[in-house]
């Protein structure tokens, strides 16, 4: 087979790529992280790279998506470019791979109740008179601490190490206990090191919290893009990849396990902590990520009646999943509620203590699938709204994730102003800026109730006159210009087109309809809601006023909105630090009443109404 040299810049990453592979495949094989929002199917046009040496003629699909001038400049799509000669490839922005990942969150008080315990034992030394086995003598010590003989157990991997440890440490050992199971025997007194890591595995990002399991102290927080992004940006494209590609499930599973192992390494780097001191990890993930993490085919979630393979909480051996921590380590997997309402939602509910709240609260985690829960200690109802990826910038013409270079907020002042993540010239808009832009258009009467951008001569609001110039026609479509070509980082204008507004109408309509259905299912009206808790990255960065103006959140609730940060991560931490909280997660998962929107009566007309805007 012919190989060609491909160099990626910046960074001069050099790859030998077999002829016929796409750039995307080559980048995946090399572990280069890059965004392929549509999963590399050549539909979104977001994986633009510039080929500065070895450029070939564009294929028809590229000619459709990329403008002629850009094609001339060597812009191609990484997913469609096949390697047939040596290439020099420039990635559009050296910060492309850095993302704003939300790691902070609200704390709440709770009682630490470790799943795992360490006991220091001074084992009776064997002699000719006392010649019972090593295991027998360890059990004797444990019985003195209150354990019951017939309940104590262990396994062969522990027995293999036991004689050496006992003799090296002169019979002074620390037993690591999981209930009545001895999961580790360590030399001498190691009680002061009992660490764990809580993971929130999102479709886009993975966040890990290194915790001292005895004190609850957070020692480090690490995060990374979910490497599965290379195989598709959203849950549905992952589901498709898992079931349609050859060994697709394995690739996804291995990618997430590898990412977790890398994050563990990163968390303990520059500390004196060794992997062996980590005894437990907890996992909060959406149902699809949960299944893939466990290596279970998630296909059944994708098709009606959307049943997960598994929703019960699980405790597994870390070694079975090739998680690189102490051999005795355990993995605590939080339970799912239903097909598209997963363990991440359980974790959010656990951290917000909705199950004990006197007041009725609305909890919203906005993402590709927006999970919505409404409830109090009386009952909780939840649903998943298929919002689509618009809030994450996908399927929006100038859209991008909340990464460096993304416009994150837009202000209608004397003139249009905006802020950019990381400063500098903007490269696109992320979800929060999309919300601000559209909310402004609604408030200024530039959009009508049906979401149509009006013509300049139809504007009646005097303030709207200031932004007449921003109303443009671009590639046969009406659009609202946010930044001209010379103001952007890539020389292409940034705008919100009529189609983008249509995408947003679908997304916010789905979310708002979800809220309406839950209110109906709970039997209350919107005024009965005491508080709105917004979880997740998007919920944390959005402007609540904008969200209310466009009707993503009922406007009546604007003053009741509170951002709670990465609540799923908080829930994962609670479940790791406390066996009681972990048990509570099981109760929450069992008690939450799942409402399937697709089969809810009148859902379609509710959704239809919710796609409208409420104009002044």
């Amino acid at each position: 087979m012919n190989y060609h040299t491909v160099v990626f810049q910046p960074g001069d990453v050099l790859l030998e790529v077999p002829e016929g592979k796409t750039l995307k495949e080559a980048m995946n094989d090399a572990g280069l992280e890059f965004d392929f929002p549509c999963g590399g199917r050549g539909t979104c046009g977001k994986c633009r790279v510039r080929i500065s040496k070895g450029l070939a003629a564009p294929i028809p699909r590229e000619q459709e998506i990329i403008q002629a001038q850009e094609l001339d400049e060597g812009i191609r799509l990484a997913c469609l470019t096949t390697v047939v000669n040596d290439l020099l490839v420039e990635l559009p922005n050296k910060n492309q791979l850095k993302h704003n990942i939300l790691i902070t969150s609200e704390a709440r008080s709770f009682q630490i109740a470790p799943h795992l315990q360490k006991l220091y034992l001074e084992i009776e030394k064997p002699s000719r008179e006392a010649h019972s086995s090593d295991w027998h003598r360890i059990k004797d010590s444990l019985i003195k601490q209150g354990y019951k003989e017939r309940e104590l157990e262990s396994e062969v991997s522990i027995f293999r190490k036991m004689p050496d440890v006992l003799r090296e440490a002169d019979n002074c050992v620390t037993a690591v206990m999981y209930g009545s199971e001895v999961v580790g025997i360590e030399p001498l007194d190691s009680r002061n090191t009992l660490l764990g890591m809580a993971f929130d595995i999102g479709t886009t990002t993975i966040v890990g919290y290194l915790l001292d399991l005895s004190s609850g102290e957070e020692l480090n927080v690490v995060s990374a893009l979910n490497p599965q992004t290379a195989f598709g940006a959203d849950v549905i494209s992952r589901l498709t990849f898992a079931s349609h590609e050859e060994s697709g499930l394995n690739k996804l599973h291995n990618a997430v396990i590898e990412a977790i192992n890398k994050l563990i390494a990163e968390a303990i780097q520059k500390t004196s902590i060794a992997r062996e001191q980590i005894y437990g990890i907890s996992i909060a993930a959406n149902t699809c990520m949960h299944h893939i993490f466990l290596g279970i085919n998630p296909q059944s979630i994708a098709v009606s009646p959307y049943v997960p393979a598994l929703s019960e909480p699980l405790v597994l051996d870390a070694s079975d999943l090739k998680i690189d921590i102490n051999q005795a380590g355990k993995v605590f997997v939080l339970p799912n509620i239903a097909g598209f309402v997963g363990a991440d939602t359980v974790a959010v509910l656990l951290s917000t203590e909705l199950d004990q709240s006197k007041d009725i609260k609305l909890v919203i985690d906005i993402g590709t699938n927006g999970e919505i829960a409404l409830g109090s200690r009386e009952k909780i109802v939840a649903c998943s709204a298929a919002a689509g990826p618009a809030f994450e910038g996908a399927q929006i013409s100038s859209g991008m994730r909340g990464a460096v270079g993304a416009m994150d907020h837009v202000y209608y002042r004397d003139r249009l102003e905006y802020s950019v993540i990381g400063g500098g010239k903007p490269l696109g808009v992320c979800g929060s800026a999309l919300l601000d832009t559209v909310a402004g258009l609604v408030e200024l009467g530039i959009l009508n109730k049906r979401g149509k951008i009006l013509a300049p001569d139809q504007l009646t609001n005097p303030v709207a006159q200031r932004f007449k110039e921003n109303l443009i026609e671009y590639e046969g479509q009406v659009a609202f210009l946010l930044a001209k070509e010379n103001e952007t980082g890539h020389g292409r204008p940034i705008m919100i087109t009529q189609s983008d507004i249509r995408e947003l109408q679908m997304a916010k309509g789905a979310m708002a309809a979800g809220v309406r259905v839950l209110l109906d299912a709970y039997g209350i009206v919107v005024q009965d809601i005491q508080e709105v808790l917004l979880a997740g990255a998007f919920g944390n960065y959005l402007n609540p006023h904008s969200a209310c103006v466009i009707g993503l959140i009922p406007p009546e609730l604007e003053s009741k909105i509170k951002m709670i940060g990465n609540a799923a991560g908080t829930g994962a931490k609670l479940a790791l630090l406390s066996a009681n909280e972990y048990g509570r997660a099981r109760d929450i998962a069992e008690d939450v009443k799942f409402v399937e929107l697709g089969s809810y009566p009148r859902f379609n007309s509710i959704f239809g109404e919710c796609t409208y805007f409420k104009v002044p």
């Binding site: 994708a302 009606s304 109408q505 697709g598 379609n604 239809g608």
Partner: protein
């Protein structure tokens, strides 16, 4: 006598109150079936306006959903006076959301527009198995089968359904159109359908072309 032009315009404007009042007043006069038929025709023309406004980007999905509901409401109101009138249908079509998928907004919009355009629409609902499609095709012998789905996995179900129709020896007797977010030309070829659409109004035009 009812102002048919005003009714057409009211349907085009999605002016529910006016439409319902007009129809109720009309039904109260105890009209003949032929007169009622004219009302249906006026409503159909109003739906035509809705379709045009959608294409012009004035109307959007919410309006189409609303229009569909409005139309079934008016037909329900007219039913008592429409009985026994033989209606001339332009063609017949069997539609459904394919197995494994529950999304039916697009399919419902298409269904009500097709009905408004004078098609006999046989609606199979959601999560429809290939054999259910085959049974219905055998039973009503439509000219067209419409399959809808939103999930990318729906493509597989569509393929299975075409295969089942072919195996039942019915493929040559029907035109097949697929609709929904994941469909495109490649998918259409792969599935073995005759046409695809991501837009109900456009899909209806394709169907009208087939039966004209």
């Amino acid at each position: 006598m009812i102002d048919l032009q005003a009714l057409t315009q009211a349907v085009g404007d999605l002016d529910e109150k006016t439409i319902i009042t007009m129809i109720e007043d009309f039904v109260a006069t105890n009209p003949s079936g032929e007169e009622a038929q004219k009302i249906v025709f006026a409503c159909q023309q109003g739906m035509g306006i809705v379709g045009e406004l959608f294409e012009k980007n004035e109307y959007y999905v919410g309006d189409l959903i609303f229009a569909g509901e409005l139309l079934s409401k008016t037909i329900d109101l007219l039913k008592p006076v429409l009985n026994d009138v033989a209606t001339e249908k332009v063609g017949s079509i069997v539609i459904g959301t394919v197995q494994g998928d529950l999304h039916d907004i697009g399919k419902n919009i298409f269904g009500s527009m097709a009905e408004a355009a004078g098609f006999d629409v046989y609606e199979l609902g959601v999560d429809v198995s290939p054999s259910a499609f085959v049974e219905k095709v055998k039973e009503v012998k439509p000219q067209i089968v419409g399959m809808s789905g939103v999930l990318t996995l729906a493509i597989d179900s569509m393929k299975e359904t075409v295969k089942a129709i072919t195996e039942a020896g019915l493929r040559d007797s029907v035109k097949i159109i697929i609709g929904g977010n994941p469909v495109n030309e490649d998918a259409c070829k792969q599935i073995g359908a005759d046409a695809f659409t991501t837009n109900a109004a456009e899909g209806l035009k394709t169907c009208q072309g087939w039966v004209s």
